[in-house]
Structures are given as structure tokens and as C-alpha cells.
């Protein structure tokens, strides 16, 4: 035995002397903290998918504590989704991704850059909280506005009231969501027009749907409801016309694909209006009763108003201008001399405005034959069945089974709002708003949306929202933040932001002129809360790992549909990396340590309008506690019950569906009216111009954005803020300026990556199609031939702001004068393996010219040239 011991010790050498560093009492304690591992049975959990913003119902199969598969929740079919998409089905691999962030990380290399190794060091949660809280505390004492909070997907994980509460308790106005990188212009045009957003086509009854470049078979906020309702409507006989430069999956299933030239939609739609008016497809009753079509407009573009400021109509009973009240019979058309000045009704103005915009006059520019535009307009007018009604559930209702739907097609442009407005005008002409089978409004009539902007200057917010620069940006101007940060003085900002927190967003990667976006991240102390080392996290100083939707609590009211309303919930099912905190708990912890916890709780109660139960100051809350309060307030039931189903919903009555919107808010005399004509924009334009005359800086910014000379500036501002969409709105800056770049570049989303930043590391999604792990440059064979490009060639796509490499895909599904590249590819963060970084990062070559009305990012205006890469 002695030999044994000696030889053993000899083998160890001096090491054995270190034994005392291993504490026996610790060992004894740890030996008590073990539990046997046992395999269990299969269990199912009903929850909500957060792989995008559709909030579909899912049924998660758990075997031995491991997620085995994800299926659709059959009970959700009555409310929203009848199946799932490939992202939803493979969502478990976003959770089981080995490239997840597992512990907080601290940057030790202060230099930030795409090729700078941050030299991460893992730190304890305690240390991470302390570092960030210290910084927060300092900023809060100095000037809380110096903190900028960003979230994108974070909003949908939790609902953004939490973040609104956090930032307002902290005291910063700078909470920035992503809307302008997606659909803000659509929201704003809806808001200016009818005071609400998120309308939907009434697909159950619609007979003729024009889709202006929405690709909702792949990506859309309502995709999983729109897809099957559209398919079923088509089988019922609905005609689907898809107007877009690219044969998207949706266009592939459409009855007619109209490959319009990028950016020219407004011409197409105004020409439709021309035909509808000329052929008499005008719902006069609707225009008079629901819209401001009868209001009198002066030569300055403003309404004739009385001393009380009420807009006036021409009363045919008394032959005089009067406010539209009970007993007044307004004229729809005509020109009237009042007090020596000429006034026309809004409808007359519109009629005169589109008189010369015939299909023939725009056919060449649109790249669509005049006969086709004319035929579609007539089909649309015909199918609208103006004057008809339908009886549903014993109620006689207006029946206009036509609609125009869009998402990024009309939206993601320099003139996004005006493009969207043109579609709304066409639908108003035939009376399709809030009619059965038409275009259903959602919570219409919010007054503040429909008023002129205050045109704030200097801007309070770093994103310039609602400031003189972007006066009607009711939604956060995500892509502007970094540009403002790079030169705050240029925009008149009174402070210089010092710290940015990013919660589940990879913002700089996904907006225009993206390379420049990252420059600003070098200027601030950055904190990222996310599940992966995204490109944004690569520039962080502190990174907090987050839990995924299968590991954490989360809430969002579901997507509304014409027939249902519901609340959705997800909750922890697994936690393979044993991450101790989820996003909300990180916020709790930070606010505690930075000294604004009680204010935070108070603000939560206020923002959510919690009544019973409420958060109580000073008390500690876990995410579960917080969601107990939330769910009891929202769904009026205990959280435990919600966790059994993952949602709570109700179906709506015919009354609520058709009679609680426009009928209630706008119909008849004495009520506010839908804005066929947006006079508020004329007034806004006045204010913008006034401020611009006073402050040189404002002018400089516009000059920079739109490449204008001083002399043309004011006319341009008026044109951009015109009350009716105009021909000029088909010519965004690159169309006018990028003369040496002959081709249009359009961008789009694909099913395998959209609206969720982490799908590039999902092995299933990279394998579902032969080309789902990378994107390609769509080129028409004719164009390719002219440039000597063959299928699979590496090509360079060059715009005025940069160039990218891509792989050529030759397809007849795109216009010869256009190339298309999808988003979501070409990741470069050092944490991603090589196989997850394939494809082209198109955002870096997209020019930045925000929509002056809404702040919308200009994703589809860039002009490019292409050529084969050398060698």
C-alpha cells in the first residue's frame, strides 16, 4: 500500500500540495445538491409562437424535458392560424442553438468594428448588472435623455408598455421601435386618412383584391391569417391581382400578375381613379356621408372655414357655404365663388387633379399597358357593386366586395405615405371602406392622428419623430437614430446621447445605408439584451443573454381579424442553458440598482392601465408575478389558466364587425370625416417652411436627404406634403439623381428568415430549400444576357452608396429593368459560424431618403448597375 501511495504522489508532484485549495466543506455541501435524472413521458404545451409577429398558436411536444416538435394549436384555428410556417415548426432550434448567448459578456477591447475582436470576457450577472446600473445612474443624474432604448422584436415578446414604462420612469423620451423600417408609411397614411391603422381586407366576402406588392404568403404581420383566407376566397371565386415588379410567392398564385416598374404605383392608382371617375364608378353617397369630399377648398389648398374654424360645404338647399350639420345638403361637385374667391369641393379638386392622369399617359412610365390599367380599373369598379347591400345576421349592410391591400409594396419608399394614400383614395371612390367584402378599418377616428403636425423644433427625440423634419412620424423612426447620433448638432439636438440599450433588435443591420449605421455605435456605451451574438451585439460593451419564447413569459394581444379578437401568451417550457433571468427581469433588476424601481412599477400600472391587481411599490416581482398581474388585467383570468391554452379570445358579432367603425365614427352630418383630401398636410407644410426659413439647419438636412438646391426647396416641401398624391410622387430622389445607374433595386423578405433575426443559425431553415441558406440577385434573363451574366455567376451590384457581391439567379419573374435582392442574409457577426453568414447584405447599398411625411425608410427606391465580378 505504501508503494501505491508513493507512486500516486509522485505522479502528482507539487500539485498535491494545492489540495487545500479544494475546500472539503464545499464539497460536502455540493454533494447534497444533486438529484437523480429520470426520463419522463411526452407532454404537450399550448403556447404562442414568436418566431415572427403573427403570434400563431402552437402546440409544443415535450419528451423527457426536451422539445421534440412543434405543431399548430388546433384550438387557434377558429381565431387565426390553421397551420404553421417553417419558422414556427422549427422554432425549437432557435432555442437549442449552440451559438446562443449563455452568460453576460463584457467587452475588453475598447475598439469597435466589424473586424475588431471584442475580446469578450464572461462576467457574472451581478457584475453585469452593477456595471450597467452604475452607468444608468450617472446618466439619469446628468440628463436622462442621453439614454436611447431600442427594441424591435422585443416589443412583440413582451408588449411595449413595459419598455415605455421603463424609459419614461428613467426620464428619457428616446424609446425607439422599428416601425419605419417596416410599414410606418402605411400606418401614417391610414392615420391621416381615417385616424387609425392596421386595416384588413374583408376576405370572407371580397370578390376582387388588388395586392400592391404585399407578399403575405411569405412575410407580413397577418401572413398566417391572410394566406388561407386568400386561398379559400380564391376558390370561392375572388379574383386576385398582384401589382409588383417581382413574381413573389403571392403573385405566383394570383390570377393576374402586373409587373409594374418600381416606384410608379402612385401613377397606376391615380390612373385607376381617373378611369373610375370617368366611367362613373363613384359611390356618391359614401363620399358625401363618410368623407370630406364635399368640403370647400380654396386656391391655397386650404378649407374654407367659419370663425369657429369649422370647414364649410356648399349647401344646395340654401345655396350658401355652411358647416355640414343636420339639415344641410352638401354639393359633391362644383366650383363656387365666395367673397370674390373661387372654391371647389374636394371631389371636384380630385376630379380635376386626375383628369389628365389617364392610363395612356402613365402606361409607359408604369411599364404596364394602358388597356390593362383600364381593364383592371373597370373590373374593380364593376365588382364594387356600388349601391348594393347585403343582409348578414338580419342586418342590412353596405356591400362593396373590393379591396386594395399593400404592405411594403406601396410603403417602403421615399413617397410611401403618398403611395398608400392613393390606394385609400381609390377605395373611397367606390365606397369600399368598412363595407362588407371591402376594406375593414380598425379603431378609426383618433383625432390626434388627423391633425396638422406641431412640427417640433429643436427635436426632443433622437429619431426626430414628429419634429419639423418628419412631421407626421407618429411611429418611431428607427433608422434615423444612428444618423442623428453621428452628428446631433446638425439636427439641432440639444444633447448628445451616451448610452444605447438594444433589446431583441439588430436594428443597424436591417436599415438603409447600413454600414454607416454601425459607425454611430462606436460613439456610445452599448448594452444588448438578446439570444444571439448579433451584429449589433458585436458592437456592445455589455451583453445580457435573454431567454427565447420557449423559455420565457411573453404577451401580446393577438392580430385582430374581422371575426375575432384575442390575447396571446407564452411561458417557459424549457431552459436548456439555465439562463436565470428573462428580459423583463433584467429591466426590474437594472431599475432597482439604478434607483428608479418604484417609478418603473408606477409607470407600468399607468401605461397598462392596470386596475386589479396592480404592482405595489417596493415589492419584488419575478416575470411570473408580473405576468400574473398582466394576464388577470387583460384576460380577466388567473395566469395558470392562460398557460393551459396560450391565449384567450372571443369571436365578434356582425354588429361589431361592420357597424362599430366608420358607420359609428364618420357617417352623417356633424361628425368628423374620412380625409379623402388631407388638408392637415397643407397646414403642416406651412409650418415646416416657416421653421425652415428661421433655422438654416433644417434646410441643410433636407438638402442632404433629398439632394435639393435652395431655390427648389420650398416647392419640394409643398409637393412632398401635398394633400393629394401627385405624379411627382413617382420620382424619389434616386430616380431623379442616380442617372448613371440604369436599374431599379427592389428588396423583399423570404419565408425562411423574415421578422426574426436568428433564423440564420437555424439548421432546418437553412435546409428547407436548396437556396434557403443564402439569397440571390434576381435578374431577368434578357438583362443578364445584355450584361453577359449567366445563372450562378458572381455579380456586383453597385449603387451610389456602395457595392455588394451576389449570386445571379436568372428568372422571368422579375422586370428586365429591375434587380431584386432579399433581406436577412449576409450576416457577418463574428459569433456566427460560416454556414450562417452566406448571402448578400443588401441594406448596405440602399440609399437613405426618408419619407418626409412619415419618416419611413426608403428601401425600394435605389438605382443600381450590375456587372460580372472579375475572376
Amino acid at each position: 500500500m505504501g508503494i501505491t501511495r508513493r507512486s500516486f504522489l509522485k505522479g502528482l508532484g507539487a500539485f498535491s500540495a494545492l489540495a487545500s485549495l479544494g475546500g472539503l466543506s464545499e464539497i460536502a455541501r455540493a454533494s447534497k445538491r444533486v438529484k437523480p435524472f429520470r426520463e419522463g413521458d411526452v407532454r404537450y404545451f399550448y403556447s404562442t409562437c414568436k418566431m415572427c409577429v403573427n403570434f400563431c398558436g402552437i402546440k409544443v411536444k415535450l419528451q423527457n424535458g426536451v422539445i421534440r416538435a412543434i405543431y399548430p394549436d388546433e384550438r387557434r384555428a377558429d381565431f387565426y392560424n390553421i397551420g404553421n410556417c417553417p419558422k414556427g415548426v422549427s422554432g425549437l432550434f432557435n432555442t437549442y442553438n449552440p451559438y446562443r448567448l449563455k452568460k453576460p459578456l463584457k467587452r475588453t477591447n475598447p475598439k469597435k468594428g466589424p473586424n475588431e475582436d471584442p475580446k469578450w470576457v464572461e462576467i457574472s450577472w451581478e457584475e453585469a448588472f452593477e456595471i450597467v446600473a452604475r452607468k444608468l445612474k450617472k446618466i439619469r443624474e446628468e440628463d436622462p435623455r442621453k439614454l436611447v432604448w431600442h427594441h424591435g422584436h422585443g416589443k412583440y415578446l413582451l408588449d411595449d408598455e413595459w419598455m415605455k414604462a421603463f424609459t419614461s420612469a428613467f426620464g428619457t423620451p428616446n424609446m425607439v421601435h422599428r416601425t419605419t423600417t417596416c410599414e410606418a408609411a402605411k400606418h401614417v397614411s391610414d392615420e391621416l386618412t381615417w385616424g387609425g391603422h392596421e386595416p384588413l381586407p374583408d376576405l370572407e366576402y371580397c370578390n376582387y383584391l388588388i395586392n400592391m406588392g404585399g407578399n403575405y404568403f411569405e412575410a407580413d404581420q397577418w401572413a398566417r391569417w391572410l394566406d388561407h383566407t386568400t386561398i379559400f376566397a380564391k376558390e370561392r371565386g375572388m379574383k386576385l391581382v398582384s401589382v409588383e415588379p417581382r413574381l413573389s410567392n403571392l403573385a405566383a398564385k394570383a390570377d393576374e400578375w402586373v409587373p409594374i416598374r418600381p416606384g410608379k404605383d402612385v401613377l397606376f392608382l391615380l390612373a385607376m381613379a381617373n378611369v373610375l371617375i370617368e366611367k362613373g364608378y363613384v359611390d356618391r353617397e359614401f363620399l358625401l356621408n363618410y368623407t370630406n369630399a364635399s368640403f370647400l377648398v380654396g386656391e391655397d389648398g386650404k378649407f374654407l372655414r367659419n370663425d369657429r374654424g369649422e370647414p364649410l360645404v356648399w349647401d344646395v338647399k340654401t345655396d350658401s357655404p355652411r358647416p355640414y350639420v343636420e339639415g344641410v345638403k352638401p354639393a359633391l361637385e362644383g366650383s363656387f365663388k365666395i367673397g370674390g374667391k373661387t372654391y371647389r369641393t374636394v371631389f371636384q379638386v380630385l376630379k380635376d387633379h386626375v383628369k389628365d392622369i389617364t392610363p395612356e399617359s402613365v402606361a409607359e412610365e408604369c411599364g404596364v399597358p394602358a388597356e390593362q390599367i383600364r381593364r383592371i380599373a373597370v373590373e374593380f369598379g364593376e365588382n364594387a357593386r356600388i349601391g348594393s347591400t347585403i343582409v348578414l345576421d338580419g342586418k342590412r349592410l353596405r356591400y362593396r366586395p373590393v379591396a386594395i391591400y399593400t404592405f411594403r409594396g406601396l410603403t417602403a419608399k421615399e413617397y410611401g405615405s403618398q403611395n398608400c394614400r392613393s390606394a385609400l383614395i381609390v377605395m373611397q371612390l367606390v365606397g369600399a371602406l368598412d363595407a362588407v367584402g371591402g376594406f375593414l378599418l380598425h379603431k378609426p377616428g383618433k383625432k390626434s392622428y388627423m391633425e396638422p403636425s406641431k412640427c417640433e423644433y429643436p427635436p426632443q427625440r433622437v429619431d426626430l419623430k414628429k419634429s419639423v423634419f418628419l412631421p407626421h412620424a407618429h411611429h418611431d423612426v428607427a433608422q434615423q437614430v444612428m444618423f442623428t447620433l453621428l452628428d446631433p448638432k446638425k439636427y439641432g439636438l440639444e444633447y448628445e446621447p451616451e448610452m444605447q440599450i438594444f433589446f431583441a433588435t439588430n436594428r443597424p443591420f436591417s436599415t438603409s445605408d447600413a454600414k454607416k449605421q454601425f459607425e454611430a455605435l462606436k460613439k456610445t456605451f452599448n448594452v444588448v439584451i438578446d439570444i444571439c451574438m448579433t451584429e449589433t451585439a458585436w458592437y456592445a460593451d455589455i451583453v445580457f443573454p435573454d431567454r427565447t419564447y420557449l423559455e420565457a413569459f411573453g404577451y401580446y394581444s393577438g392580430r385582430w381579424t374581422p371575426h375575432a379578437r384575442y390575447h396571446t401568451l407564452h411561458y417557459p417550457i424549457v431552459n436548456p442553458y439555465r439562463i436565470p433571468y428573462q428580459n423583463l427581469e433584467i429591466m426590474f433588476e437594472l431599475s432597482k440598482r439604478a434607483g428608479f424601481y418604484d417609478e418603473f412599477l408606477e409607470k407600468i400600472n399607468e401605461k397598462f392601465k392596470f386596475k386589479n391587481p396592480k404592482f405595489v411599490k417596493g415589492r419584488d416581482y419575478t416575470a411570473r408575478d408580473a405576468f400574473e398581474i398582466l394576464w388577470r388585467n387583460k384576460a380577466k383570468e388567473p395566469l395558470k389558466k392562460g398557460m393551459k391554452r396560450g391565449f384567450k379570445g372571443r369571436l365578434v358579432s356582425v354588429e361589431e364587425r361592420y357597424l362599430s367603425g366608420a358607420e359609428k365614427v364618420f357617417k352623417g352630418p356633424g361628425k368628423p370625416k374620412i380625409h379623402l383630401y388631407c388638408e392637415e398636410l397643407v397646414q403642416t407644410a406651412d409650418r415646416v417652411i416657416q421653421t425652415m426659413r428661421k433655422h438654416k439647419r433644417v434646410r441643410e438636412v433636407f438638402k442632404d436627404w433629398y439632394e435639393l438646391g435652395d431655390s427648389e426647396m420650398e416647392d419640394f416641401i409643398r409637393m412632398k406634403l401635398s394633400p393629394l398624391p401627385r405624379k411627382e410622387h413617382a420620382y424619389p430622389t434616386p430616380h431623379r439623381r442616380a442617372k448613371d445607374f440604369p436599374l431599379h433595386l427592389i428588396t423583399f423578405k423570404r419565408m425562411y428568415r423574415n421578422q426574426s433575426g436568428y433564423c440564420n443559425v437555424n439548421p432546418i431553415l437553412n435546409h428547407v430549400a436548396h437556396n434557403s441558406d443564402h439569397n440571390e440577385v434576381w435578374i431577368n434573363p434578357k438583362t443578364a444576357k445584355e450584361h453577359g451574366i449567366k445563372e450562378g455567376d458572381t455579380v456586383i451590384v453597385e449603387s451610389r452608396v456602395g457595392k455588394v457581391k451576389g449570386i445571379a439567379k436568372l428568372t422571368h419573374g422579375i422586370r428586365p429593368d429591375t434587380v431584386g435582392i432579399s433581406y436577412h442574409y449576409g450576416h457577418w457577426s463574428g459569433d456566427y459560424p460560416e454556414w450562417a453568414r452566406k448571402g448578400t447584405w443588401v441594406n448596405q447599398i440602399i440609399e437613405y431618403h426618408p419619407d418626409l411625411v412619415s419618416g419611413m425608410n426608403s428601401f425600394n427606391d435605389t438605382k443600381v448597375r450590375i456587372y460580372k465580378a472579375e475572376g
Partner: protein, 111 residues
Amino acid sequence: MWLLAFVLLLFSIGYSQEFKSLEDIAKLIREGKIKVGKDYTMSFGGRFHNIHTKVIGMDCSACHLNKYPKDFLYIRRYKVPVRGAPGVVDRSMCISCHKGGKVATQWYTTR
């Protein structure tokens, strides 16, 4: 060349007898007198491969795609571009010999 290849084949399968017609060879294969391959390999240089290339003299492009010289059409790699839509593999060539009553083994029937 054709003959030489054939003779080589016969040597390679250890069956050096007098010239036989394709039908006869097919029969012999079916009767098990010519073992198609110990390991039934279809890879390059394998016996089955030889029958198709050297005996029947089929062009490589009948089974292989130019761009993917190492990819056999019959081992369908997922990323092979689609040729014979709606299927991903094109077997129309095979029918001429392997359908009922033709020279080779009947994989496919006329029913």
C-alpha cells in the same frame, strides 16, 4: 472502341466467353450468372456503372449533371437543380430498357 470496352468488361467480371447480345447478357444477369457486383456498388468503376457506360455506351449526361460531376443523379443531392419537373430526378431514359418486356430487369410496369 465499343468492342474493346465490352471485352474489358467481360474480363473485369471474369466472364470471358464468346460475344453475346445485350439481351443474353441481361438474361445472364437475371439468372444470377453474372454477379452485378459483390457489394452492388453503382459508383464509378463499379460493375453496374460499367454496364451502363461501357456496354450500353450511355452518355454521362444521361445520369449526371455537368455542373456537379461528383453528384450522381441517382443519389439525389438536395441542391441539384431541378431538371425533370415535377420530379427531381429524370428517369425517362431508364424506361426504355427497364419497362415491361424490354431488355433489362423490369423495374417499371405498363399497367
